[in-house]
């Protein structure tokens, strides 16, 4: 059944591997996917190792419900120590890799060591082979996948791989599958590159049993009908995540020119432009949301470019952040980062930062080798992407990620960085929205909107509805506020979303199907039913919360072991000192209040059962059964 998938430990240095079943007790503690990955990392990684050295451990996994009748149950999770932040690295991707991994008999891969030369893993129906990849080293993401399929003689093989950015150890290189699915954040591609691991190819034909097939079909159909009936789903199906730009730019909640502005006035890169280029939409495995477009650029210098996407982050990275206002640049930029295997978000932020440095004179034409890094210079932006991936000139410095690059450049460049824990922030502006700001400041993988963002806070929902959502499954009767500029009750929202996203990542379901951008979608109750129908395991919503809490706390323990302190859960000064200059009246003249923000963090820690330094209290660890970790049960 879905629960009999195995774990494989693969040592690339020796070429040895072993497989083991996953005991049901471990499922009961961590479900699978991100949760179990976190346990594995905490147990298999020695503290303080070099993230780009052979001692780093890379985990690749499929969530508990992947390939079952849930909704968009397609997620692969990838974990390691992050070469970008030095803390936890964790990233998640859709596509078709994870179900194939399960059909091949595995749920978790724990990859250690470093191969002598380029290799790829070939995993099929319970077998694992380490194969030579010297011929494909140096190939881009798309060609790599094609070449491997060709070599293995099966177009149905699914490949997860790195591009040249990962090979060149760009610290924010991603791992890709298909044309655009990316495990983007925290530099997992560089970890693969450092291990000489170019790709993992999988193909499986093994049954994945559904515990109660009829019930699962029936429940699933109702659930999908419900999801499909929401306005959110219909907007996603039509426009994809680019619709977010429309909403947030209209209000004044986007980051423009590296934090100089919070609105792109006259912005002309909204999602509707995709209609000129779109061939249709594309979904991940089992998903009815089909949030990405298939697009073709028909003429101009990039004629013939086919790609999938773009996303909100592409609009940020190749639009408002770098001062560009040309939709085609967004499309081309998206294509480039996917081809090279770069994290769009980090790439865009690094470029925007460099452009601000150029504007204030910290970087000169000499540093940029003549590249005019002026706001809105589309060609320079696209050229800079090439240089980052190839580590040429200034690109070589930017490829080191925010903090290391700032150290290399010096001259006070660090105070222009927009980051948390050495990871760049999403291209949104959180100054008017304390809840969103708290989320990025505390996220366990560094600045992040997918760890805990209560995005529905932006919708001004009535308090009764907020109470219905955030009041359970563990009781909460503190304040909740419909006003997104308020500080009231926001720590609860962040904590709740944190638990919900963690649970969903353990299950391997896509966040767009949950209470993320719509208040009407899946959360703990539905998850409990989905797990039961598909696997037969019984968990109440409260128990799922506890599992998520356990997994999130082990992430915290991991970070603390790597030296994280309370000071790392904080925003850069610009959030507190520079008020938002423009936007709708509701978001104007806003910045985060230091004192109130500090109180929010206190409250957030308190709700977690962590002390004032952010360290889980002994009784919290005991309650979650973490007092004996690392326990080496797997």
């Amino acid at each position: 059944m879905a629960l009999n998938r195995k774990i494989a430990y693969i040592d690339l240095s020796t070429g040895e591997f072993k497989t083991a079943p996953i005991p049901i007790e471990m499922r009961e503690l961590y479900l699978g996917g991100r949760g179990l990955d976190m346990y594995l990392l905490y147990n298999h990684l020695e503290p303080s190792v070099d993230p780009l050295g052979p001692d780093n451990v890379l985990t690749v996994s499929a969530g508990l419900l992947v390939g079952t009748l849930a909704s968009a149950s397609a997620r692969t999770h990838i974990g390691a120590k992050s070469p970008l932040t030095g803390f936890l690295g964790s990233s998640n991707m859709g596509g078709f890799f994870a179900p194939e991994l399960r059909w091949a008999g595995f749920d978790h891969l724990v990859i250690k060591g470093k191969a002598d030369g380029p290799v790829y893993l070939w995993i099929h129906d319970g077998e694992i082979e380490i194969r030579d990849a010297s011929d494909i080293w140096g190939e881009n993401v798309f060609d790599t996948q094609d070449l491997i399929k060709e070599e293995l003689g099966d177009p149905e093989v699914k490949v997860l791989c790195i591009g040249i950015a990962g090979e060149n150890l760009v610290r924010f290189a991603n791992v890709m599958t298909g044309m655009k699915n990316a495990a983007g954040r925290s530099g997992m591609g560089a970890v693969m590159g450092s291990k000489n691991l170019k790709a993992i190819a999988v193909r499986g034909t093994m049954d994945l049993e559904i515990r109660f097939p009829e019930k699962a079909l029936e429940y699933n159909q109702k659930l999908l009908e419900h999801i499909g009936s929401t306005k959110f789903a219909q907007i996603m199906q039509k426009w994809g995540t680019m619709f977010i730009y429309g909403v947030t730019n209209t209000t004044g909640l986007v980051r423009v020119r590296n934090f100089q502005l919070n609105q792109q006035v006259g912005g002309n890169i909204e999602c509707e432009h995709i209609e000129e280029y779109a061939l249709g939409s594309e979904g991940c495995y089992g998903c009815i949301m089909n949030c990405r477009h298939k697009y073709l650029i028909r003429d101009g210098p990039y004629a013939g470019t086919y790609g999938e996407g773009p996303e909100y982050t592409s609009q940020g990275a190749f639009g408002m952040e770098v001062g560009c206002n040309n939709f085609e640049t967004v499309l081309v930029g998206n294509h480039l980062v996917n081809k090279y295997g770069l994290d769009t978000l980090e790439t865009g932020s690094m470029m925007a930062w460099a452009m601000e440095l150029y504007e204030v004179g910290i970087l000169t034409d000499e540093d940029t080798d003549g590249l005019k890094l002026e706001w809105g210079n589309d060609d320079a932006v696209l050229e800079l992407v090439n240089r980052i991936a190839e580590r040429k000139g200034l690109g070589n410095i930017l490829a080191e990620g925010p903090l290391r690059a700032a150290e290399k450049i010096g001259k006070g460049s660090i105070k222009y960085l927009i980051h948390v824990k050495g990871m760049s922030n999403l291209h949104s502006d959180e100054r008017p929205t304390p809840s969103l700001a708290l989320g990025i400041a505390t996220g366990s993988r560094g600045s992040d909107h997918l760890r805990s963002r209560p995005a529905i806070d932006l919708y001004h929902l009535p308090e009764e509805l907020l109470r219905k959502i955030y009041g359970g499954p563990k009781p909460y009767d503190g304040p909740l506020s419909s006003d997104y500029t308020s500080y009231e009750g926001k720590p609860r929202m962040v904590r709740w979303q944190e638990m919900m996203y963690e649970a969903i990542d353990c299950a391997g379901i896509c966040k767009y199907h949950t209470i993320f951008l719509s208040p009407n979608l899946i959360a703990f109750d539905e998850l409990s039913k989905l797990i039961y129908n598909n696997t037969g395991m019984e968990f109440s919503p409260e128990e799922i919360w506890d599992i998520a809490d356990r997994a999130y706390t082990i992430e915290r323990l991991f970070n603390i072991r790597e030296g994280l302190t309370r000071a790392d859960d904080w925003l850069v000064d610009r959030y507190f000192d520079e008020p938002t200059p423009i936007g709708l009246p509701i978001v104007r003249d806003k910045c985060i209040d230091r004192e109130k923000f500090k109180q929010m963090i206190d409250e957030y820690y308190e709700q977690h059962g962590w002390d004032e330094d952010g360290v889980p209290r002994p009784e919290t660890l005991k309650k979650l059964g973490l007092d004996g970790e690392p326990s080496h049960r797997l």
């Binding site: 390939g67 079952t68 009748l69 078709f96 179900p99 059909w103 798309f142 996948q145 094609d146 298909g178 044309m179 034909t205 093994m206 049954d207 994945l208 049993e209 559904i210 097939p213 699962a216 079909l217 699933n220 159909q221 999908l224 499909g228 199906q237 061939l279 249709g280 939409s281 594309e282 979904g283 991940c284 495995y285 089992g286 998903c287 009815i288 949301m289 089909n290 298939k294 073709l296 086919y306 999938e308």
Partner: protein, 163 residues
Amino acid sequence: MEMILVVDHEKCTGCRLCEMVCSVRHTGVNNPTRSRIHVIKWPREGFELPMLCQQCEEAPCIAVCPKDALSRDPVLGRVMLNYDLCIGCKMCVIACPFGGMGIDTVIQQVIKCDLCDGDPACVRFCGSGALQFVPANRVNLIKKRDAGWKFSELMKKSLEAKN
């Protein structure tokens, strides 16, 4: 009334939900190799096409079956496989021009779409409308209406451009 399952490849998003539910409905497990429908993809071009049995009128699979295990079911408009008669020779697999006949290696039998006895699961779940189960004599009218709508949109645009 005879119904047919029509595919509109332009709408297909390649999600493979149809494969999943087909497999689960018929076998209780999710194993795409045991599904009766497969979404064939060319990822570099963004082209995907769900392929399944076309329920042929002059079906080659019926013609080559030495045991008359295959026959047309005029009520549901499908080609039916009688497992009591089938000897597993796989001649039908060779004869079918579309890959409509498959082999389930777990139960060692040939398999084909049975239109889920008149309530196709794949159609019920397909979120994009790429799969439709419609009266056979209305198929082209539906296509005409879709094409007509596109035409009218284009006309509107060209009129707007003129004004």
